[in-house]
């Protein structure tokens, strides 16, 4: 396996655009994801005021709490940058360290979301309580699943780097996961602004 990695890295890339296939593919995938979240966010914006008998957004949101968990997620982008930088310097120890930190920060965010959902549920906002509830849980749930997938990728990457089993160019794999991670972060900033900060 180790020689496979070398084998690939040494041959360099000859692509028509100069961008590697993997990176171009990831960019395209994220472009597609923009429309996925676009559709979910639009649905939420249409339904945010339709609360029926259930609680209103203002009643269930705990903005200080969510601000802290948003900050945690933002910080994880920073640590992701450090991981990519370390990977480009072929510094395996630094890479795995920062990947682990990023993964833990992401897991903290997901934990916060679980806590937040539980609290809201106890305040009477279930998935089927109102259109607002359904749209809210769908949108933030989709985002949460994206973060969870990201955390799993980060921690798995740590495992396979430690056992030197990364197929292909290690620095590039880290960078690809990084692209995904930053994207998920940016989407959260948009969701946080539109869902939590703008009053209905």
């Amino acid at each position: 396996m180790a020689d496979a990695a070398v084998h690939h890295a040494d041959h360099g890339h000859h692509t028509s655009t100069g961008l590697s296939n993997n990176k171009l593919g990831m960019w395209l995938f994220l472009g597609s994801e923009c429309l996925l979240f676009g559709g979910l966010i639009s649905t939420y914006m249409i339904y945010r005021g339709r609360v029926g008998e259930g609680p209103r957004p203002g009643n269930v949101f705990d903005i200080p709490f969510t601000s802290v968990s948003s900050f945690v997620l933002l910080m994880s982008s920073l640590t992701m940058v450090l991981a990519v930088a370390a990977a480009q310097k072929r510094d395996d120890r630094g890479t795995t360290l920062w990947l682990t930190v990023t993964g833990l920060l992401g897991a903290t965010f997901v934990g916060g979301q679980v806590y937040e959902f539980t609290a809201m549920y106890n305040e009477g906002l279930g998935f089927t309580t109102s259109l607002f509830g359904s749209a809210f849980y769908t949108l933030t749930g989709f985002h949460g699943v994206h973060v969870t997938v990201g955390v799993i990728m980060l921690l798995s990457l740590v495992g396979i780097i430690k056992r030197s089993r990364v197929p292909g160019d290690k620095a590039e794999v880290v960078e690809l996961v990084g692209l995904y991670w930053h994207f998920v972060d940016v989407v959260w900033i948009i969701i946080f602004t539109l869902v939590y900060l703008i009053p209905t």
């Binding site: 396996m1 020689d3 496979a4 084998h7 690939h8 041959h11 890339h13 000859h14 692509t15 028509s16 655009t17 961008l19 590697s20 296939n21 993997n22 171009l24 593919g25 395209l28 995938f29 472009g31 597609s32 994801e33 923009c34 429309l35 996925l36 676009g38 559709g39 979910l40 649905t43 249409i46 339904y47 339709r50 029926g52 998935f127 089927t128 109102s130 259109l131 359904s134 749209a135 769908t138 798995s156 396979i160 089993r165 197929p167 292909g168 160019d169």
Partner: protein, 664 residues
């Protein structure tokens, strides 16, 4: 399947290098079978996958065709007794779903998979394993959509599945659940295919092939893949919301619970209108290859065809609400979308002019492929014209939900998309299988299809304007109308037409069987073609080209065969295809690394239908499906896409190794 290949002379079958895996990655050893079913099921070769896409699509074409004939039998006479109202609803819903998602899209994907890499002088796609995954995912999705027939009834809300028809009150069976989850799965196939083909086209072109030297088919496929990339996520959202409503009690589309009555319609048609171009542009691409070859002229106004294709790709996003003129959008929206829709007819018209000018003054060779290509130009024009009549909103309010709409979209889809695909069959068959389809049968196939199609869909203009609604399981004598406009007469004509059409398609299938049995081998360049896919053996070797060609011209292959005399300006043949092939072999690349087969794509794809069944019947099953997916992802990530030399016995020597662009 040879992992490392050495060039072999023309006509001699590929002899795979002896290769045995010596190391294992993940739980499963790498498959190495070069013959038998394993060499197909675990393949990552874009050509084999292309053929499998084609075979599956053809199967669903027959299924969808049988459904269509049943619909027409029911409507052949007043108060039809063939189908009950309930089964009729399932029949038209599944007919449309099958034709759109399981025939035209996969068949276009078959051609894209097979010919895009060949046309750009590449040895495979950018992500061969993802390509295999896409194919098996499509199969899984197709099975899920159709399983519903055997589990209490299929989806019955029409192919655009409007609320409230999609809700539990009007659709109590699990049909809509199967439909939504199945299409979700085929959507994954389209999305991964889109990423794959865009990267392939942008990154893996042969040296010298700038974008404006790219064959038109590849260009239009590129536009299609971008449309898919951005349209699929929108339908994904809509389908998720629908599944959450049906399976988990949400009320996204339940107006009585306060939902917006138009949300689904907007989401569906934001996907749906780009989708119609996804269906037809590949066929436009095919005939833009076929018409020049059989007119012995270059495509007239290549840049116009390319840019009008791209223009359609942009404007196509701004017209979706023309499907909603009757839903009370308000006068401003209606006016805007009406004008935008008229505007989109312009780039479409540009193409028709280009094709006509390509034929004009050419030395026409009326092969079966040429018949179908010209058929497309004529029939699609008729469909485009009726399209413009419903771009005019006031007239559309009269037409919408009548048979007139059915006439329109069958002229553009059958006359457009399907005729183009058939042109592709006849044109590329010798390339794919080394044998030519029978031309006489092909022409009979064409004429029966043209006559059948006009008999079936032509009268629908009339019965539609007379007011016969679409999606009604019976019509009655009471509404029949007098004389020339008699509904009974035209309905019968349409039903007979559908049988003529079926015989036409049957002739094609007979032609395929006959050709497969025949021993006659096609010449290397049977049509005197123009593009790179013809610059290799038929069928192509596993690595496509012995030497990757350097491209200097649009229509590179033509320019290698013909040159203009500097004095007389006459165009003269300077080389034959055989000469060019010999030259390529002499300069063949020494060692060619091809991506290796893998078990993971089919395992990963196999997990998805299990999840779907679990969501419908029992959540634990879904968890098993998810576990399969996760395990397969790990196996996949740990396996390099191209096996390293050291993975094989005997190890290949590294000297002179020619690498592809890095493969994922």
């Amino acid at each position: 399947m040879a992992i490392i290949e050495r060039p072999v002379p023309v006509g001699v079958p590929d002899i795979p290098a002896p290769a045995t895996p010596t190391r294992t990655f993940g739980a499963l050893r790498r498959p190495v079978a070069t013959t038998g079913w394993k060499s197909w099921v675990f393949t990552v070769d874009h050509k084999k996958l292309g053929i499998m896409y084609g075979a599956v699509a053809m199967f669903f074409f027959i299924v969808g065709g049988i459904e269509a004939v049943l619909i027409r039998l029911q409507l052949a006479a007043p108060n039809g007794k063939v189908l009950s109202a309930d089964v009729y609803n399932q029949m038209f819903t599944m007919h449309a779903t099958t034709m759109v998602f399981l025939f035209v899209m996969p068949m276009a994907a078959a051609f894209a998979n097979y010919f895009v890499p060949l046309q750009i002088g590449a040895r495979d796609v950018a992500f061969p394993r993802i390509n295999a995954f896409g194919f098996w995912t499509l199969v899984g999705g197709g099975i899920i959509v159709n399983l519903s027939w055997f589990f209490g009834g299929a989806a019955d809300g029409g192919w655009f599945m409007y609320a409230p028809n999609s809700g539990p009150v009007f659709s109590p069976s699990n049909g809509v659940d199967f439909w939504a989850l199945g299409l979700q799965i085929t959507g994954i196939a389209s999305l991964t295919g889109a990423v794959n083909l865009i990267v392939t086209v942008l990154n893996m072109r042969a040296p010298g092939m700038s974008l404006m030297k790219m064959p038109v088919f590849t260009w239009l496929q590129l536009v299609v893949q971008f449309l898919l990339l951005f349209a699929i996520p929108v339908i994904t959202v809509a389908l998720f919301l629908l599944s959450f409503q049906r399976s988990f009690g949400a009320t996204f589309f339940d107006v009585s619970a306060g939902a917006d009555p138009l949300l689904w319609q907007h989401l569906f048609w934001i996907f749906g209108h780009p989708e119609v171009y996804i269906l037809v542009l590949p066929s436009f691409g095919i005939i833009s290859e076929v018409l020049p070859v059989f007119s012995k002229k270059p495509l007239f106004g290549y840049p116009f065809v390319v840019f009008s294709g791209a223009a359609i790709g942009f404007v196509g996003w701004g017209v979706w609400a023309h499907h909603m003129f009757a839903s009370g959008l308000g006068p401003v929206s209606v006016a805007v979308f009406s004008i935008a829709t008229m505007a989109i007819a312009v780039p479409t018209g540009v193409k028709i002019v280009n094709w006509t000018m390509t034929i004009w003054g050419g030395k026409l060779n009326f092969t079966a492929a040429m018949h179908f290509a010209i058929g497309l130009v004529v029939l699609f024009t008729i469909g485009g014209l009726s399209g413009v009549t419903h771009a005019v909103a006031p007239s559309d309010t009269q037409q919408t939900d009548t048979y007139y709409i059915v006439a329109h979209f069958h002229y553009v889809l059958f006359g457009g998309a399907i005729f183009g695909l058939f042109a592709g069959f006849y044109y590329w068959w010798p390339k794919m299988f080394g044998k030519q389809l029978n031309e006489r049968l092909g022409k009979a196939n064409f004429w029966l299809m043209v006559i059948g199609m006009n008999m079936t869909f032509g009268p629908m203009h009339m019965i539609g304007l007379q007011g016969q609604p679409r999606r009604m399981y019976v019509w009655t004598e009471a509404r029949a109308g007098e004389g020339f406009f008699n509904l009974a007469f035209w309905n019968r004509v349409a039903s007979i037409g559908s049988l003529v059409l079926s015989i036409g398609v049957l002739l094609f299938l007979i032609n395929v069987v006959k050709t497969a049995r025949s021993k006659q081998v096609a010449p290397l360049d049977p049509w005197d073609a123009r593009t790179l896919e013809w610059m290799t053996t038929s069928p192509p070797k596993e690595h496509n080209f012995d030497a990757i060609p350097t491209v200097h011209h649009l229509d590179e292959f033509f320019h290698r065969k013909y040159a203009q005399d500097p004095v007389t300006h006459e165009i003269k043949q300077v080389a034959t295809a055989e000469d060019i092939m010999r030259d390529q072999e002499a300069n063949a690349d020494k060692h060619i690394h091809m991506p290796s087969p893998s078990y993971w794509p089919i395992i990963l794809a196999g997990g998805l239908p299990v999840i779907a069944l679990g969501v419908i019947y029992a959540i634990p099953v879904a968890i098993v499906g998810a576990a399969i997916v996760v395990l397969a992802m790990y196996g996949w990530s740990l396996e390099p896409s191209t096996a390293p030399d050291t993975d094989f016995d005997p190890p290949a020597s590294g000297d002179g190794t020619k690498e592809l662009a890095p493969l994922g």
